[in-house]
């Protein structure tokens, strides 16, 4: 336990002295601010458009259409995309050299002559990265609540704060999947650059290729008959699209994230308990890779021969 705590502390300190890592953190935080800004201007534009429609309808004496439903948290929904795009890269960056760097630099030899269990090295690294990612997401939370208040003039209520906190917890789990993946690759390879490249390929597949294939498949899920003016659902295509989506944690993360950030009308107003119950399988699916990859990394480190 002491060993794990110390390794976690060292990982935490080292991360914040790494210029490349700090640069990615900076980009992540800027994107998070931009996300709130874009979200709020989009919603303001929607409101402005509605006001124009109301003005025109009033002048023409026609019926005033119903006001659009605007869910306040939806202005944060771009965060989901930024975590898929940048958050995961940041986690890969933290992990790709985490173990092999110790091996290559020779510090692993030193560590293994101390009374530390090999599994503590992996758990310590995971905890250190968890602290870094957690701190970053906590900073994002504070930034976003402040910006939310600044742009909307409304301080989010408790339910909304709870949704944002839960979203960041899910984002934490999602980012840790990539860290655990990078750490595992780092235990397997003696070439960190190869490990990084491999993880970037995995990232491209998870974040872009599979979601795109699932999305494309979804377009076949509805048969549109222009002559009859009907839209018929094709169940096989929907099932296939969903099945493809289950190959990518990014798809499931986006789904849970959008639910939590009120970006989906159907789930925007339901209670948090019901929402979590509905998304439980997806959340468990997101937790699973971290657990599995940590176990595999620990097994790999146990086998590590030092000379």
């Amino acid at each position: 336990m002491t060993g794990m705590k110390n390794i976690a502390g060292k990982e935490f300190r080292s991360s914040f002295r790494n210029m490349e890592f700090l640069l990615i953190v900076g980009v992540f935080l800027i994107m998070s601010i931009v996300s709130v800004y874009i979200g709020s201007t989009t919603k303001n534009a929607e409101l402005k458009a509605y006001e124009d429609i109301v003005a025109t309808a009033t002048a023409a004496g026609t019926e005033i259409p119903a006001a659009p439903v605007i869910y306040p948290l939806a202005i944060l929904k771009n965060l989901v995309e930024y975590i898929v795009m940048i958050g995961s890269v940041l986690a890969i960056f933290l992990g790709f050299d985490a173990f092999n760097g110790e091996r290559r630099g020779g510090t692993l030899r030193l560590m293994l002559t101390k009374p530390v269990r090999r599994s503590s090295i992996i758990l310590g690294k995971l905890s250190g990265a968890g602290l870094v990612v957690g701190l970053l997401l906590a900073a994002t939370l504070i930034f976003n609540i402040v910006l939310f208040d600044f742009y909307t003039g409304v301080f989010p209520n408790n339910a909304e704060i709870l949704r944002v906190v839960l979203f960041l917890l899910v984002a934490f789990v999602y980012m840790m999947d990539f860290y655990a993946g990078a750490l595992y690759v780092s235990t397997k390879t003696r070439e960190s650059s190869y490990g990084f490249l491999l993880m970037m390929v995995v990232w491209i597949f998870i974040s872009f290729v599979i979601p795109q294939v699932a999305e494309s498949q979804k377009s076949y899920a509805y048969a549109i008959n222009n002559i009859a003016g009907t839209v018929t659902q094709v169940p096989e295509e929907t099932v296939l699209s969903n099945a493809i989506g289950w190959l990518s944690p990014a798809v499931q993360f986006k789904s849970v994230g959008n639910d939590l950030l009120q970006a989906v009308d159907e789930t925007a107003t339901i209670g948090i308990g019901r929402l979590l119950a509905a998304d439980l399988i997806k959340i468990l699916y997101l937790i699973f890779p971290s657990v599995l990859l940590t176990i595999l990394s620990a097994r790999e480190v146990k086998k590590e021969a030092i000379l």
Binding site: N6, G9, S14, G106, L110, L307
Partner: protein, 241 residues
């Protein structure tokens, strides 16, 4: 202090250690001599719990280095040939991290003691990446003695150092041995250094131990030889025949 019995280490195409048995007594400075690839580092790695022997047994203070590895690590200090530290951290941060891993309770006081002993206190807040090889070697020694180990394993501690650095490390080792009572197990191929530093000598060739005794006994046994170097070559030639 250290007792090795019939230790063998085999790799697919090579036997790195072949039936090595040796004894290092408490308080000794044991110099393990041999050419490159003789098996010195393999022996040291087994003794310091880094790798497992293929067969045989090593105990340190009666504790088996395989079965009781965590306990053994509490009483051993280790300095690799190329001292590896975290360059972006300061000397103190490196020592604090490694000291805590060694379960040192009052780690800052221990760091001050170790750096004081090595005459290195003024560099405590320097980042390690800015230090010279000789300075890093001293930090390496500091991390190895923070927890006041009973036995210190050193792999070529003066390799790559200039004569001044070599002399400094030698003095430090003699002081550690005298002041802390630490047994030292040192791999080296610098025979002159071994003569100046070691009380006991072991010579290994192609994984086989050719000789192990106190330096005095060895000198008495080979009294016609003028130096340890001459003894080393004579034993080496004898083994080759």
């Amino acid at each position: 202090m250290l007792h090795a019995e019939h230790v063998t280490k085999s790799y697919p195409n090579i036997k790195a250690l072949d039936d090595l048995s040796l004894e290092v007594s408490d308080g000794a400075i044991f110099g393990f001599l041999g050419h490159n690839g003789a098996g010195k580092t393999t022996a040291l790695s087994i003794c310091s719990t880094l790798i497992l022997p293929s067969s045989g047994r090593v105990t340190i203070q009666g504790m088996d280095v395989v079965k009781d590895n965590l306990k053994v690590r509490k009483i051993l200090g280790y300095l690799p040939e190329n001292v590896a530290l975290y360059g972006e951290l300061t000397v103190r941060e490196n020592l604090r991290f490694l000291g805590r891993l060694s379960e040192v309770r009052k780690v800052d006081a221990a760091i001050d003691d170790a750096l004081g002993l090595l005459g290195f206190s003024q560099w405590a807040d320097r980042r390690v990446k800015t230090l010279s090889k000789g300075m890093r070697q001293r930090v390496g020694v500091a991390q190895a003695i923070l927890h006041k180990p009973k036995i210190l394993f050193l792999d070529e501690p003066t390799s790559g150092l200039d004569p001044e650095g070599t002399a400094e490390i030698r003095d430090i080792l003699l002081r550690i041995n005298a002041e802390l009572g630490t047994t030292i197990f040192m791999n080296t191929h610098m025979l002159s250094e071994a003569t100046r530093t070691c009380s006991d000598i072991g010579i290994i060739n192609h994984g086989k131990l050719l000789l192990a005794d106190t330096l005095k006994n060895i000198e008495k046994q080979y009294e016609d030889c003028k130096s340890l170097e001459e003894i080393y070559f004579r034993i080496g030639k004898g083994a080759a025949k």
